[in-house]
């Protein structure tokens, strides 16, 4: 797999994200696969921000381990990132801003001083335009044609025509030509491979998938890294006919979503761990009232406020245990945007079919980073059946009627003759309380037991209906990775690296982390020679779940809880340790 990676760094407010996205889009429009990593801090100005666009002729599933081109808007960027440059790499900088003696660079890395400020001054006194010159130079080195870069700039400025567009195209052209005159295209640059690919974040994929599944109502409270789900849907609310409500808090958000679902529309809320902690009681209400709702939980490093702009998979225990008492739920965990699109559709299907809350577990790494998606992976033709399914049949309607599957016919307000009360208290088949004057009376004690069993029965159906565990890679390999969610991406890249050095492996991953398809899980674990659990949390939460559910303990673990995503080389190193240990 041939690849090239371009990194851009500077301070918050420098426009790093825009430069990075333009480069990522340059690659994706060349038909290359891209992983775009954005790294930032919880500040609006200052600090250190960086973006990396990694392009490849095969699919990169992670940021990778190294870069070839570094555009440094400040000296700190060189200090932080120069060591990540591969031999033959280039640092783009402006000598007017800081000096960069060769002694500051690793062996085999050269510097290219580009007069970005001087170029910008030709057009405007606004220093932000320096980015355009640097972007042009980076595009040249990365093998992105100038006309393509200009088209991307025109598209991104859109209707904001006028001077800004002229300045940007002009300055980027000057930067491009300067680089052309003083350097050559990176040896690792790739040429055009085919039709442009789609480039989207995990959150955009989730929002798109939800809309395709028939979402009509989103209620959300801002919280990184879930906010961009609301941003995307709000931007498209009018054209798609979706009501997007910014609620006063997460308590309101989920309760509004549950109310809307009861009222007859497909609804969703999205948040991160802190907000999800506030939603916990209402999640149980959705379970108790058998009201479908989809909750996106995009994890960030906790506990408490934690590291708001850094990633982790530390909320699995919370998602598994959220809510007093017991009720059925499913937790889906896609690993990349293409999977996230499908997972959102699956989440709505499962929530409706089983009339219970479905959690879509994401994390900052999946939610906010960009990845290419093939057009065929985003099939918008998703069946959206009517929710008004109960029709008169001459019999008494009971909303919570006992059934074989645990699922009862669901009427919606406005339907004549089907009136019922959805109760957060324990209730009978008609929905009436058994919590007050009936509680503890023998006949209602047994009704309570039956009603619990009816609800919990749905877990069996969910386990069969949700996406099953997947074993991919070499059959019978000496090492089986076990992973879930966004961590799967770095494992896949590590597997490719290991395979290239004669170490075939396979990967067991879980698009549904709960409820597990136990027969399949046991079967797949049984055929593994040796396992390595890879999770982005301190205690190996998924490993604990697997052990609780299957009795199988995964002793070899690679756990990361520093807020940074897994990088392939970390996984390769740990895998080799495990493999070498076996050979001893």
């Amino acid at each position: 797999m041939a690849e090239i990676a371009v990194r851009v760094g500077g301070q918050a407010g420098d426009g790093i994200q825009s430069i990075g996205e333009a480069l990522a889009r340059g690659f994706s429009r060349m038909g290359l696969h891209v992983f775009g990593l954005t790294a930032y801090q919880s500040v609006i100005r200052g600090g250190h921000v960086w973006f990396q666009a990694r392009a490849s002729d095969g699919r990169p599933y992670s940021p990778g381990d190294a870069a070839d081109i570094l555009y440094a808007l400040d000296k700190a960027t060189v200090e932080i990132h120069a060591a990540a440059l591969r031999p033959g790499g280039t640092v783009i900088y402006d000598p007017e801003k800081f000096a960069l003696p060769p002694s500051d660079l690793p062996a085999g890395v050269q510097a290219l001083g580009v007069p970005t400020l001087a170029i910008a001054r030709k057009f405007t006194s606004q220093s932000i335009l320096q980015n355009a010159g640097g972007l042009g130079a980076a595009a040249f080195l990365a093998g992105i044609p100038l006309d393509l870069l200009h088209q991307i700039l025109l598209d991104s400025f859109g209707r904001k025509a006028g001077d800004v567009v002229t300045w940007n195209t002009g300055a980027s052209a000057e930067g491009y030509r300067f680089a052309e005159a003083h350097a050559s295209v990176c040896a690792r640059a790739l040429s055009k491979r085919g039709a442009p690919k789609l480039l989207m974040t995990g959150n955009q994929a989730i929002a798109l998938g939800a809309a395709a599944a028939g979402l009509k109502f989103l209620a959300q409270y801002p919280m990184t890294p879930a906010s961009s789900i609301m941003h995307w849907l709000a931007a498209h609310a009018q054209t798609l006919g979706i009501v997007v409500k910014q609620a006063e808090d997460e308590l309101a958000a989920i309760n509004m979503a549950i109310g809307a679902s009861f009222g007859g529309v497909r609804s969703m809320t999205a948040t991160s761990g802190g907000g999800f902690a506030l939603m916990v009681e209402a999640l149980g209400m959705a379970g108790m009232t058998e009201t479908p709702v989809v909750v996106v939980e995009s994890q960030r490093a906790g506990p408490s406020t934690g590291l708001p702009t850094k990633t982790e998979q530390g909320d699995l225990n919370l998602m598994l245990g959220a809510g007093q008492g017991e009720f059925p739920r499913a937790i889906l965990a896609p690993s990349n945007p293409a999977e996230a699109y499908r997972a959102a559709i699956d989440a709505f299907r499962l929530a409706e079919e089983w009339q219970t809350p479905v959690l879509l577990a994401s994390d900052l790494h999946l939610s906010e980073n960009l990845m290419t998606v093939d057009r065929e992976e985003v099939d918008l033709d998703v069946p959206v059946p009517s929710l008004f399914t109960v029709t008169p049949n001459g019999h008494t309607y009971q909303r919570y009627q006992y059934t074989e599957s645990g699922v009862s016919p669901r009427a919606l307000p406005g339907q004549p003759g089907l009136e019922f009360v959805a109760g957060s208290d324990e209730h009978d088949e008609r929905g009436h309380l058994v919590s007050d004057i009936r509680a503890g009376i023998p006949v209602w004690v047994s009704e309570r037991r039956r009603m619990m069993e009816k609800r919990m029965k749905k877990l069996e159906g969910l386990a069969k209906d949700a996406p099953p565990p997947v074993l991919e890679g070499t059959a019978g390999a000496p090492l089986t990775f076990v992973a879930w969610g966004s961590t799967v991406g770095a494992v896949r890249d590590a597997q490719a690296e290991l395979a290239a050095t004669g170490h075939p492996t396979n990967l067991l991953h879980f698009p549904t982390v709960y409820p597990l398809d136990l027969p399949a899980t046991r079967r797949l674990l049984a055929v593994a020679h040796r396992t390595l659990l890879v999770e982005a949390n301190y205690s190996g939460q998924f490993g604990r779940l697997l052990r609780a559910e299957t009795g199988v303990e995964l002793r070899e673990r690679l756990l990361k809880y520093d807020g940074e995503p897994f990088l392939p080389h970390e996984i390769v190193a740990r895998a080799l340790e495990v493999l070498n240990d076996v050979r001893k």
């Binding site: 109310g259 149980g284 008609r430």
Partner: protein, 299 residues
């Protein structure tokens, strides 16, 4: 249609009963509870307005009074403590063809649910919120509530309440409610008018009701209110005058006003949410069939 209370026993599908009546579940409130007067007023108001029962959704939280939806034959959502209003708002936005009436207590609405109370009013969501305000926590057996009187001795405040009570009327006026009224469950006829007018009002209607707890609140009794309440309608109050409404809301002591404090016409949240101009959300098309153009932004 009959004015006699229609009972909603388990009914064959497709033979709807026209208007809201009692359900076959009898209220479990203590004998003499103020809430009996409130449910009578809500039932009579809905009947008077001839709203078909399948188009009514009663939404409550948790507390004695929040059991109300079970006792009337309409759609109902008996939600968790304090969250009646966000659930009710969600229902309205999903289907604004429905008549949504929130019912609950002072602990539910002004304590644990205070944040939602304020925000629902500033949004001017077109629903009616009737609080059975007994100034005590009843279902948890007699602790102080957000409207308990300063100095009142309760199980949780044996030395007397040392916090100032919330004034729900003033809070509603400050939060932008467009229909603000106070009733007394000892005057069901007057209360019925307030509730009925609240339901027909275009916007957020708040009706706070003195609904005495005969078991745990020995101060704010039926007699306490009978001796003190007077009707704003008979006192020359102009309900379009916000300043006058403010002044009346501050009256407490020997004379306590009930009736309509304030009413104004403003666009509702549903009016201003453009997506809803195409009709109830639940009846609109959904999905992305044929919307491939949407993918262009990702190229």
């Amino acid at each position: 249609m009959s004015e006699s209370s229609a009972t909603a026993a388990p009914q064959p599908i497709g033979t709807p009963l026209p208007v809201v009546g009692k359900s076959d579940i009898k209220p479990t409130w203590c004998p003499g509870c103020g809430d009996f007067g409130v449910i009578a007023a809500v039932e009579t108001a809905l009947k008077r307005l001839k709203i078909p029962r399948h188009n009514v959704v009663l939404v409550s939280g948790i507390g004695c009074s929040s059991n109300l939806p079970h006792f009337l034959g309409a759609y109902g959502f008996h939600a968790i403590h304090g969250r009646a209003l966000p659930v009710a708002e969600g229902i309205r936005w999903a289907n604004h063809g429905l008549t949504v009436v929130g019912t609950g207590g002072d602990g539910d609405g002004f304590g644990i649910g205070a944040g939602h109370f304020v925000h629902a009013m500033r949004r001017n969501v077109d629903l009616t919120y009737v609080t059975m305000d007994n100034q005590i926590y009843g279902l948890t057996t007699g602790q102080a509530s957000p409207t308990s009187t300063l100095g009142q001795k309760t199980k949780s405040t044996p030395a007397g309440v040392i916090e100032n009570p919330i004034d729900p009327i003033a809070l509603a006026l400050a939060s932008g409610a467009t229909y603000v009224a106070r009733g007394f469950s000892g005057d069901v006829k007057h209360l019925t008018d307030l509730v009925a007018n609240g339901i027909t009002h275009h916007g957020f209607s708040f009706v706070d009701v003195f609904s005495p707890c005969v078991t745990y609140n020995k101060i704010n009794t039926f007699d306490f209110f009978r001796q003190r309440v007077y009707k704003l309608e008979s006192a020359g109050h102009d309900p379009t005058d916000l300043v006058a409404a403010w002044q009346r809301s501050l009256e407490w002591g020997e004379k306590i006003p009930i009736g309509l404090f304030y009413r104004t016409e403003k666009p509702t949240y549903e009016d201003l949410e453009e997506v809803l101009s195409a009709g109830p959300l639940a009846l609109q098309p959904a999905g992305l069939h044929g919307k491939e153009k949407l993918l262009e932004e990702f190229v």
